[in-house]
Amino acid sequence: MSSIEALTEKPAPRKKAITSISGSAAVLEAFLAEGVDTIFGYPGGAIMPIYDALYDYQERLKHILVRHEQGGIHAAQGYARSSGTTGVVFATSGPGATNLVTGLADAMIDSTPLVCITGQVFAHLLGTDAFQETDVINITTPVTKWNYQVTDATEIPSVLAKAFYIAKSGRPGPVLIDITKNAQLQKFDYEGYTPCEHIRSYRPKPIVRKEYIKEAAALINQAKKPFVLFGQGVILGKAEKEFQAFIEKSGIPAAWTILGLSALPTDHPLNVGMLGMHGNYGPNVLTNECDVLIAVGMRFDDRVTGRLDKYAKQATIIHLDIDPAEIDKNVKATVGVWGDCKETLPLLTEYVEQKTHSEWLQKFKDYQAEEDKTVIHDELHPTTDQMTMGEVIDSLNELTGGNAIIVTDVGQHQMVACRYARFNNTRSNITSGGLGTMGFGLPAAIGAKFGAPERTVVAIIGDGGFQMTLQELGTIMQAEVNVKIIILNNRFLGMVRQWQQLFHDKRYSFVDIASPDFVMLAKSYGIAGSSIEDRKDLKSTLKKMLEHNGSYLLEVIVGKENNVFPMVPQGCSVSEIRLK
């Protein structure tokens, strides 16, 4: 026996009662052991044995029948994001599996923990172009944190244990397990489920090295104009309190990426707003004036940084991230702190001096005042006949008090919602950030409601994105999901139109989109709704929507050619942000 064999030999597990169960039942047992309560899925030929087994687990596992697998995976993403647990999806082989790809890519880039189970043809048919066979493993490799094909049922308990462990640990992400039909049917001696706690080729997080914390703290303590940028890492690390303690002690103004939004209450005195292309004026301009930039759980996406060679060149950069591949990827860090921010932030807080940076903070306020005057006032209190997206969000804030979960789709309405929605609680902003998936909003809102049933969920969607996944109204109808849907209808693919106006000489190429009668459409699904165009109806209808018992669709006709400002044009530096 070689030394390595001796090393890997594990102590014999405790004897457990052995029963014979099918591979399908083993999948469901794994779900129960992992605390799964809701599955989003769609049946089909190659996953029928699992659905057959599910018939006996209906009391313990809620299954939501979606209308399209893409809807299923976006719902699971919404679920994962609102609940802080792992979302679970079932789909069949072939088209069922390929329909998951957009959601996988979205979950991969936005670090959302998912376990997706796809059925696959019998193992002896693999590679024969069998009915509904597709090479799911190779198709999904670039968009999964891990994927694996099971052809033998005895592997199922350990593979699923690995799947859940990988999905939720470290930097979370989607995992796909493809199970051939024979493995689903195969009976085997089941020895129970043992959760996975360690994989030798995978280190989700390192031991935090204090010397880097101390180095970072020393830089922060000397800083005159320090600036914190935070992303979803704070939420994923469940480190909101630790983060708040850090900025409060160090007195540093903090700005968020759209995935970091809601980790810090909107009205926190150190919350200076949104970063990036449509972010706030101060945070963008002052990125190029600060002396120490502290990035926490964010990855310097190009929509946040603008032109990289003119990004914060004057500043010393401290980057806290759990994923070592992110440190130095886009912006070179002076000090990289590799670790879980739940652990690194309290250490950093310990070493930083108690300070206030009132003069520096005032600069943000000055820029804010200018933005208020030039942009925000007109957006929230317009004098035009037509309504603006901003005033809808503003009225919604008043009625929800900032306590609702806001789910957005992608486009102008998304930027407006992120800019103006107010949040008191974390895990309240659910949006497709990295991938920018139109059609994400409606199904994600369904999932978000299942993930946080006690909370009000409002989906804010454009007329374009809504039409990409509107089939999920059927899911809302059948599963009686209480989500409030606001369609901000400008009768255009607004964001593309805005770019065409500003950068393509107003050549409006295929952005003029017609819509069905949304209220009548909702009605056919048994969903109450109304459509408004007049400002005087806004508050009362929003109120009616929120008070309505059950789901509700509200269409608000807004100005056709409104633009989202400020804006950092592509290829420009963040400090070249335009107010109009």
Binding site: S2, S3, I4, E5, L7, T8, I137, N138, T141, P142, K145, W146, N147, Q149, I166, E197, H198, I199, R200, S201, Y202, R203, P206, I207, R209, Y212, D323, P324, A325, I327, D328, K329, G336, W338
Partner: protein, 198 residues
């Protein structure tokens, strides 16, 4: 750190898992980087595979790539090295008509000069083998071409890292569920500029 492109050899220690080759290969194709050479083989540790990949890139890109590869679940460790930091060899086979060789060149001289070895000698053809670096194996191609080289093939590069320790020790660390304090976890941060791996 040099901003110029140069040859780097990336050594990847992995679990023996189907599909890993694809997972590694797409990291390069995604960035539109051509793989000059790729070899997979067992390593010094039983059950652990070793990929040797050669690309022409800047160190900055190679470092980022290495980190992204090492991040994949079934990858244990990634090293990258310049040619100066490794001992490397490639194997080449040449098939030539025996007549030509026997008549026009002195086989003996050839074998000695290029360190070639005749693997097969038949009436109709002879197969030579050389082991060496790219320029060496290429030179013999040039020499043999006028004599009717029928077939030529060269293997991928295999490389040994000059400054490496046995992977056994590293693996022991990885196997620990709770890594001890001695496990150097942030080693890549220590040597940001001359990093050898993440």
């Amino acid at each position: 750190m040099s901003a110029n492109k140069q040859e780097f050899t990336i050594t990847v220690y992995t679990e023996n898992q189907i599909g890993l080759l694809n997972r590694i290969a797409i990291m390069f194709s995604r960035r539109k980087i051509n793989i000059e050479s790729l070899n997979t083989s067992p390593s010094e540790v039983e059950g652990i595979h070793r990929f040797t990949i050669v690309i022409n890139e800047t160190e900055d890109v190679v470092r980022k790539l290495s980190r992204q590869i090492e991040k994949q679940v079934e990858i244990l460790k990634v090293y990258y090295n310049t040619n100066e930091e490794i001992i490397w060899q490639e194997l080449a086979l040449y098939k030539v008509p025996t007549d030509e060789i026997a008549e026009k060149v002195k086989v003996e001289r050839l074998l000695r000069e290029y360190g070639a070895r005749a693997v097969v000698i038949r009436k109709d053809y002879t197969v030579f083998e050389t082991t060496g670096q790219r320029e060496e194996t290429d030179r013999l191609v040039q020499v043999l071409e006028p004599f009717g080289l029928i077939e030529f093939v060269r293997s991928a590069r295999v490389a040994i890292i000059k400054g490496s320790n046995s992977f056994h020790e590293k693996l022991k660390e990885f196997e620990e569920t709770e890594p001890s304090e001695e496990v150097i976890e942030n080693e890549f941060l220590d040597k940001q500029d001359e990093v050898f791996s993440m």
